[in-house]
Symmetry: C2
Subunit: 245 residues, 2 copies
C-alpha cells in the first residue's frame, strides 16, 4: 500500500529522505517550486500531516522555504551547507565534512585537580579532582581541532583507560558515568593561541581560533562535564542558516 514503506524508520523520516532525493534530482521541483502538499500527499500515499512533518524537517535544515498561499520553494544554496554550528556531532564528522580525512594526532588522559573556573561551572567544591581528556584531531595530517574535556570523579562510575575512551564524550558518559548527557550548552568565542598551543597546532603567525566552551547537563540539569574546544576556523567553517518567516 504505502509506496515508500520499506524499512523500520518512522514514515515521515523515510518520506523526508525520499523527498530530499527527489528534490536533488529535480523530480518534484518545477521552476524552483515544490509540488503542492496535496499532490505530494497523493504521490506518496500518506496523510498530509506526514508530508508536513517531513517538509518541516527540510525547512529546519534550510533546504526549503514555505510561503503561505504561494507554495514551497527550494533553497538551492541552503542545500549545500554542511556544517551547522547548532548541530555538530563528532569531531571526525566535522573534519570529514570539511573535506579532510580525520585522524587522532595525540591523546592524553590525565588525572588532575580541576581549575576553579571549571569547578564553578560544574557546581563542584573548589579543588575537586577529575579526568582531563586532551586530544588533538587532524585532517589530512594537519592539526585542526584541539579538545580538552573535563570529567569530574564525582560523576564517574568507572574509570576508562585511554584505549577505551570513545570518540564522543556523550558515549563516554553513557558507558562510564552515573548519568548520560541530556543536553549541552555551548558558548562560542574567538581566541588566539599562546606559544605552546601555536606549536602544538602548528599555527602560522597570527591565526585566530574559534573556541567552543560546552557544559553538558544530565536529565535533571546537573552539570556533568566541561569541554573546551579550539577549532581552526580557517579550515573548518561553521555555518548557520536562517529562514526568514
Amino acid at each position: 500500500m504505502k509506496k515508500y514503506a520499506v524499512n523500520n524508520a518512522p514514515l515521515y523520516l523515510r518520506v523526508k529522505d525520499v523527498l530530499l532525493e527527489a528534490i536533488r534530482s529535480g523530480e518534484i521541483v518545477v521552476d524552483g517550486r515544490l509540488l503542492s502538499e496535496e499532490t505530494l500527499t497523493k504521490q506518496f500515499n500518506v496523510s498530509r500531516a506526514t508530508i508536513r512533518s517531513a517538509l518541516q524537517l527540510l525547512e529546519k535544515d534550510g533546504i526549503i522555504s514555505k510561503r503561505h498561499g504561494s507554495g514551497t520553494i527550494v533553497n538551492t544554496e541552503g542545500l549545500q551547507v554542511k556544517i551547522r554550528i547548532d548541530e555538530f556531532k563528532g569531531f571526525f564528522e566535522l573534519i570529514r565534512e570539511s573535506g579532510h580525512t580525520p585522524s587522532i594526532g595525540e591523546k592524553k588522559l590525565l588525572e588532575v585537580q580541576l581549575e576553579k573556573k571549571i569547578c564553578d561551572v560544574l557546581d563542584l567544591d573548589n579543588g575537586s579532582k577529575g579526568l582531563l581528556l586532551q586530544r588533538l584531531f587532524w585532517g589530512d595530517g594537519k592539526p585542526l581541532i584541539y579538545a580538552k574535556e573535563y570529567i569530574p570523579f564525582s560523576i564517574l562510575r568507572e574509570r576508562p583507560t585511554i584505549e577505551e575512551v570513545p570518540e564522543s564524550i556523550f558515549e563516554l558518559a553513557d558507558s562510564y558515568c552515573t548519568d548520560p548527557v541530556s543536553y549541552s550548552i555551548t558558548e562560542i568565542s574567538s581566541t588566539i593561541a599562546d606559544k605552546k598551543l601555536k606549536q602544538l597546532m602548528e599555527l602560522p603567525g597570527n591565526e585566530t581560533l574559534i573556541r567552543l566552551e560546552e557544559i553538558h547537563y544530565s536529565r535533571v540539569n546537573q552539570p556533568l562535564m566541561y569541554s573546551d574546544i579550539l577549532v581552526r576556523d580557517s579550515i573548518i567553517r561553521f555555518h548557520a542558516v536562517r529562514i526568514r518567516k
Copy 2:
C-alpha cells in the same frame, strides 16, 4: 470554550507562551517533570496535536527535553540562554540581551565599487557598484559591533537616504529592493582587528573578534546582499543549545 483563546495568534503559539510562563512559575512542573501531554490537553482544552506543536517549539529552544515512555523534563539551564547564534535578529536586540543599552555610534552610507570577492559571492560582474552601509553599534557607549553591508545597485529599486536606512537590512530590502530576503547563510569565523579597526572599536591589545559573513538570498535563490559583521565576543556571547536525542 477555549480557556486561553484571547488574541489572534495561532492557538499553538498562545499555548506555547502560556506553557512557558507556567513552566517558569513551576505551575505545571512536578519534580522537574512536566505534566503529561494528556493532562495538558485537558487543562488547556485543546487537542493533543496542538499541545505537541507548542511543546515542539519549547524543545527546539532547548527549554524542555522529551523522553519516550518517560516524560518531559525542564532544562533549567537551557531556560536561561538568551543569544542563540542560529536565530539572531537585530543588532540592537543582540546588545540588549547581552545586558547593555544599544545605540548607534556611527553610520555611513557610501557609493562604492564592490570588491572582487563580494562580486563573486553575489554573482555580479566584476567591478559592479553598490551601496556600502557601515555602522558601529554601541552598548552603553562602548563599541560592540561593526557591520558592513553591501547592497548592489542591481537589486535597488530606489535609493534610501542615510536617514531612511532601517536598523535591519531585511527591512531595507523590503522597502528599497526588488525582492525581499528569503533566507540567509552565515559563515562564522574568528579574526583579529587591524590598526584602523582597533582604533575605531577601541580594542585593547590582542582582543580577537567573531566574524559573521552573511549572504542574503531571495525567494528564487538570487544572492542579494552581503554582510560582514564583527562582534566583540568578550561582551556579546553567542550560544548554541543542543538537545541529545
